[in-house]
């Protein structure tokens, strides 16, 4: 399953190195169309993310990156297209069921519930799980992973710093042991040092647990530094999907699609 490969000069470089078609594709999106009201934002998006890889979706403001994530997790209803998670159709699944299918979405602004404590926010991420013992184990693992959170268990969400909030949002998603993690702008408003730490953590999770990540970022450099696959969106379409290293290193591609 390849990324969108339109014939013609606009997208001659679409390729699928390191991501051969087959059973290893965790997320397959075909012809996804979505928008708000009558205004379409996504126009026939095709996308494939292999299991155990990190895909970074980059592009200008208004390219449809956030809308893509919202359409994938069902927060907005797609008008057309297919979303397959491990081969199962996701479209039409109620939002609250997606987490049970293995998809976690950390939304724009992180979605930390300010009125709840750190511990309550984290526990909420595992409440849906039947296996209570493993949910408790996952909670302990998150506290081990994010040591600042362990020190602030009883603090309310609104008492945390931006970096701590991002850790909390990530940790809360991880408590549900997702197969696919959708992350919307994790670097927003964070110091470069904190961003680097979070990106390194994503790699670590991918390598250790086989987590698959679909990351939306404005911060193209740090996103491509961590990702296996780079997906460039423009005006609601995927204009190129290529190995992140190729997008990073190919000067022509960078100039054409990323503007730097």
């Amino acid at each position: 399953m390849s990324a969108r490969s339109e014939p013609g000069p606009r997208a001659p470089q679409s390729r699928t190195e390191g991501n051969p078609a087959g059973a290893s594709d965790l997320l397959v999106v075909r012809g996804l169309e979505a928008g708000y009201g009558a205004a379409p934002v996504l126009r026939a998006v095709d996308l494939t993310v292999a299991a155990g890889t990190i895909a970074a979706v980059v592009g200008a403001n208004g390219a449809g990156k956030t809308t893509l994530l919202r359409a994938l997790s069902g927060m907005i209803r797609p008008a057309a297209g297919q979303v397959l998670l491990a081969g199962e159709e996701l479209r039409g699944t109620p939002v609250e069921q997606l987490v049970r299918r293995g998809m976690a979405h950390v939304p724009e602004g992180r979605g930390v519930i300010s009125e709840l404590t750190v511990d309550e926010n984290l526990r909420l991420g595992g409440l849906w799980r039947r296996d209570r013992a493993d949910a408790a184990r996952a909670l302990d693992e998150v506290y081990d992973l994010f040591e600042p959170l362990a020190r602030r268990r009883r603090h309310l969400g609104h008492q945390l710093s931006g970096g701590e909030r991002q850790m909390l949002a990530l940790g809360r998603a991880l408590v549900g042991r997702p197969r696919l993690l959708l992350l919307d702008e994790p670097s927003l408003g964070l110091a470069p040092r904190v961003v680097a730490r979070i990106m390194a953590l994503l790699r670590q999770l991918r390598d250790r647990t086989g987590l698959t990540v679909l990351l939306v970022e404005q911060n193209v450099r740090s996103a491509l530094a961590v990702a296996d696959q780079g997906v460039v969106m423009s005006l609601g379409q995927v204009v190129i999907a290529a190995p992140a290293a190729t997008l990073r290193d190919d000067v022509d591609l960078r100039h054409a699609y990323l503007g730097f």
């Binding site: 997790s73 927060m75 939002v95 609250e96 069921q97 997606l98 987490v99 049970r100 976690a104 979405h105 939304p107 979605g111 519930i113 300010s114 009125e115 709840l116 309550e120 526990r123 909420l124 991420g125 409440l127 849906w128 309310l156 969400g157 609104h158 931006g162 909030r165 809360r172 549900g176 408003g189």
Partner: protein, 292 residues
Amino acid sequence: MDRFVFLTIDGLSRGAVYAAFALALVLIWRAARVVNFAQGAMAVAAAYVAYTVATATGSYWLGFLVAIGAGLLLGALVDRVVMRHVDHASPLNPVIVALGLVLLIQAVLGMVYGNEFRPAEAPFSRSALTVAGVAVLSPYDLFVFAAIGVVVSGLAWMFARTPVGLRMRAAAFAPEVSRLLGVNVGGMLTLGWALASGVGALAAMLVLPTELGLHPHAMDLVFVSAFTGAVVGGLDSPPGAVVGGLVVGLLLSYVSGYAGSDLTPLAVLVLLLAVLLVRPGGLFAPVAARRV
């Protein structure tokens, strides 16, 4: 002094009922951002169910339990059948619909039971026990305190300590995020309506025997007092609702005891006005969370 003690205890007893009723209003406000103006009428409807059951079976307690059950059910029904379908774009919409519901419920009750007072039975004696020559508590007052104490602490425990309580709070504060975390937000909302309406039914069962009895309009004034209590405490704060309800109960008792019962409705409105002017968020308004 004797009189002061009596008025204080009487005020706390009434205040406990207002507290429960105010708490029910706060539960729905927090979950759905709706002030449920139909709560009084819904509670009266549950009390009429109790009356029917108690008359048919001769058992007060069976009627009592059925009333709480009817309250829970009616709350869920009002959410699912009516309120869920109201456009919340303007805050006035649910208010108007709730007022319409009041008219409907009161009209139906009037058609079925007649617009006359029916006796509301008290399960315990209402004559005060005398301690050292001072009339203090009646067994019925003790029952009221115990019933409301159990319900309020039970709700507090449920919200603070149980998974379903955590889900309900999360769904109220951040519905969209909660859905992403697998919370059935619609179900939590219905549960909130059911619980609030059940508490309202309990309050009606407790307060009606101390008043003129059962009547389609019997809870109208209780609603006004409890609403004032909820606003005094800040509509968003459950502990505030309890304290606010007790404050209103005490105020009404002192005013009617020392200045005459004609002045009590005025006193409630003066208190409401004072709170809205001085501290519109209520006495227990939380410090607004800073969203970054």
